[in-house]
Each structure stands twice: as structure tokens, then as C-alpha cells.
């Protein structure tokens, strides 16, 4: 299974259109968070740290569609919380499919088997299952035993029914590279479409030297994980982002590339940092002080950050922004073992 040609064409023509119109800041993926309620309490997750009356709130399908239409991104990721807990998730997904958006419904898969009948297989819909490693690592990361097995059953059921399935994995610098590689082998054996991996986000109030060491720890980890990658491993990522994770590319983040919308509005400046909210996507783009963010901005909260939601858009921009970027993307796509 591979990414549909129609999706590749849609994204490529969208990005090229933005380049030709000289649009400086454009979204690639909308991070649409319809609720923060979750059926897990993973340690370190800030998305569920709200009073109960906030946890119980959710976006309506109409609010979701309005956000998607205003933003215009060709892809929509639906994280949370746990989206399958939203009582109108069927309507939300159907509305986005009708609008021909490529959807990545992010789920811990606890409810996937029980709720899968709500959905119809479509080239527009992918279940992106959260798995942070093999059984021991994943159950430890989500602070509950047995979740890995439930998630794998959910993946198998979704694949059996013809749904597109990917995984999303967050890795911190204490990850065991060999175990991660075994994990990639395991996922490949399941037959999923692709794996998304990202370093975790850790904001540290630390002197500059500590930040330098932290970035080095991250790139060292990914160099070990991705050393001589197996051809059969399929990543749902730009190969240039994988090069960035290994320290082979020097990128600045593109926080507007994956803007986040939730019950508070359009989150400034990005999916991870909540430093205010705009009432419209236009206001987000025009009023956020973008120069105050990014690795090179001097902002301590950004210094160590290498996460997917900030840098994948940079990598995609590089693919279409220069001959070198394009040729590198072609080279690493044809021969993934070079990544």
C-alpha cells in the first residue's frame, strides 16, 4: 500500500500553486483538535491538562468545516484528546471527505474496533494510530498495560476492512535505537501504509550549552535509528525531514505549516505552544509575531525543538523550493537506504 497518487498530486500542485503566487506563509496540514477529552492519561501530555468543564467541550461539525474551508490546507490531521470519543466524529469525517480533504484521524485505537463501522474506506481517510514502540515501550509511554495489544488489533481490523492505516510515534532521547528498529520491522510486517516518527518536545529552561547538547542527543539518536534504513520501511514523512532529524539538514521551523484549531480558536504560534488564540486563520497569520519563534529566534521554548509538526512543512517547502531540494527528495525516495 502507498500514498495515493491523487494525494501526492493534490499536495504537489497545492504547494507549487503557493510558490507561483509567492505566498510566503501557507498551511500544509490543519491540526484540527475537535476535543481534548481522552481515554488515556499519558504522562507528560499537556493536551488533557484542563479543568473538567473544558475537557467536556468540543467543536461542532460546522465549526470544523468552517475552519477547514478558511484554512484551505489540502490535508487535515484530527488529533485531540481522542477523536473517536467525539459523538459527531462520523459527521466530521464525512464532511471532510466530501470536501476532498486528506484526513489523518489520529487515535490511540482503544475504540477503533468498536467504532470502525461509523466509517467507510476512502482514499481520503487514514487512521493514524499512536504507537510509541513495541509492547513494553508503548504501554509504559501511555501509562497503561495492554494498550499496545489493543492498538495492534485495531490496526489489523482496519487494514482487513480496506482502510488506509499509518502510525505516529514520538521518541525521546532515552529510546533504544535497536528496539525502535525492531518496532519498524514489526509495523512493516503488519502492512501499514507508512510510519510517522518525531522527537518529543521538551522545553527546558537551560543555558545555551544544554540546548546544544539536547539537539545533539536528538540527532545522535536518529542517526542510530535510521542508520542504513531497510528498503521495506515506509515512512509517512518527507525524506528531507528524516535527514533533518539526523542533523544532515539545517532547517528553521514553519509553525504556520501545521496550524492548530480547537475550542479556543486558532492557536498562536503553533500546535505545541499555546500563547494566545486568533479568531480566524487570517488573523493568526497576520497578527502572530512569527519572528519571536523558531530555533534561531533566541526563544528558549523553541531552541531544542525538532518536532514533526514544525519541520515537516519546512522539508516539503525545501522539496519544491530549490533544485537541490527536489533532487534530494527524488534521490532519497528512489533509494530510501540513502536517507
Amino acid at each position: 500500500m502507498a500514498v495515493p497518487i491523487s494525494q501526492m498530486y493534490t499536495v504537489a500542485s497545492y504547494v507549487l500553486g503557493k510558490k507561483l503566487s509567492k505566498t510566503k506563509r501557507y498551511p500544509l496540514v490543519l491540526m484540527l483538535e475537535p476535543l481534548f477529552k481522552c481515554n488515556l492519561a499519558c504522562a507528560g501530555c499537556g493536551k488533557i491538562q484542563y479543568p473538567e468543564h473544558i475537557i467536556q467541550r468540543r467543536l461542532t461539525p460546522e465549526q470544523c468545516f468552517a475552519a477547514v474551508e478558511e484554512c484551505g490546507a489540502p490535508m487535515v490531521s484530527i488529533p485531540g484528546g481522542e477523536p473517536l470519543l467525539h459523538p459527531e466524529i462520523k459527521q466530521i469525517v464525512e464532511g471532510l471527505v466530501k470536501r476532498k480533504k486528506y484526513i489523518y484521524l489520529c487515535t490511540n485505537a482503544i475504540l477503533l474496533k468498536s467504532k470502525i463501522d461509523l466509517f467507510t474506506p476512502s482514499k481520503y481517510l487514514t487512521f493514524s494510530v499512536h504507537l510509541d514502540g513495541l509492547k513494553d515501550e508503548h504501554d509504559h509511554a501511555v501509562c497503561r498495560d495492554g494498550i499496545f495489544d489493543v492498538a495492534v488489533k485495531g490496526i489489523k481490523e482496519a487494514l482487513k476492512r480496506g482502510f488506509r492505516v499509518t502510525t505516529n510515534t514520538t521518541l525521546f532521547d532515552d529510546a533504544n535505537p535497536e528496539r525502535v528498529r525492531e518496532f519498524f520491522d514489526f509495523l512493516t510486517g503488519l502492512g501499514i501504509e507508512g510510519m510517522m516518527i518525531s522527537p518529543g518536545y521538551g522545553y527546558q529552561k537551560a543555558p545555551d550549552q544544554e540546548h546544544f547538547l539536547q539537539r545533539n542527543r536528538t540527532t545522535d539518536l536518529f542517526k542510530k535509528i535510521l542508520h542504513q534504513p531497510k528498503r521495506e520501511w515506509k515512512f509517512n514523512l518527507s525524506p528531507l525531514f528524516l535527514r533533518f532529524l539526523q542533523g544532515e539538514k539545517d532547517y528553521e521551523c514553519t509553525p504556520w505549516g501545521m496550524p492548530a484549531y480547537n475550542i479556543f480558536g486558532w492557536q498562536k504560534p503553533c500546535y505545541l505552544l499555546g500563547e494566545g488564540y486568533a479568531s480566524s486563520f487570517k488573523e493568526l497569520i497576520e497578527t502572530t509575531e512569527w519572528d519571536k519563534y523558531g530555533n534561531k529566534s533566541g526563544n528558549e521554548k523553541c531552541t531544542d525543538c525538532m518536532v514533526h509538526c514544525g519541520f515537516e512543512a519546512t522539508a516539503v517547502n525545501d522539496t519544491f523550493g530549490s533544485i537541490r531540494g527536489f533532487m534530494d527528495t527524488v534521490k532519497f525516495t528512489i533509494n530510501p537506504s540513502l536517507v
Binding site: A43, G44, C45, G46, I48, Q49, Y50, P51, H53, I54, R57, D174, G200, Y201, G202, Y203, Q204, I263, F264, G265, G274, G276, Y277, T287
Partner: protein, 95 residues
Amino acid sequence: MATPELLKSIEVGMDYRGDVTVDLLDGKSIEGFLFACDQKAAEPFIQMYLKGESLPIKIQVINLKEVRITGEDTAAGKSWEAWKAKQEAVKSSAQ
């Protein structure tokens, strides 16, 4: 013009992961979740969600006296640093 103390209390309230109580100059108090503050608007305001209300409310900063931390801190002990320390403790006890 908002005093430095008021601005500081708004900033603290915005960072807090629990409900706050906003004291107004007319003597009223409102409890809810403070999630936004726009100091650059023509009339600076804060935004809050109140329990039981479906839509957020806006209060102009000129009407504010103070923002107090009064609700439970839902992030207590759950920061990234605390999680890392917990991971280290588990690793040490396993060795």
C-alpha cells in the same frame, strides 16, 4: 491603563492550567478558564470559558481589578520535567 500588577496576574492566569477567579472593578467576581488576552486590540480584553456556558466571554482589561488562581491545577506533577524525573526514577530502581 492596566497596572503592572494586573498585567502580571493576567499573565499568571493565562499560564495556569486550572480555573481562575477574575475580580472586576464593579465588585463582581467571575470564575472560569482564562485562555486568551489581547493587549494589542483597540480595547484590550481577556477571554474566558465559564462552567455551564457554551460560548466564551470577553472582558475588557480596563474593567479588571485582579486575576486570582483559585481552581485546581490540572497540570500539577504532570509536566515534561516531572515525567522525565519519573522515568529516571523507574530506571534507577530497576537497575
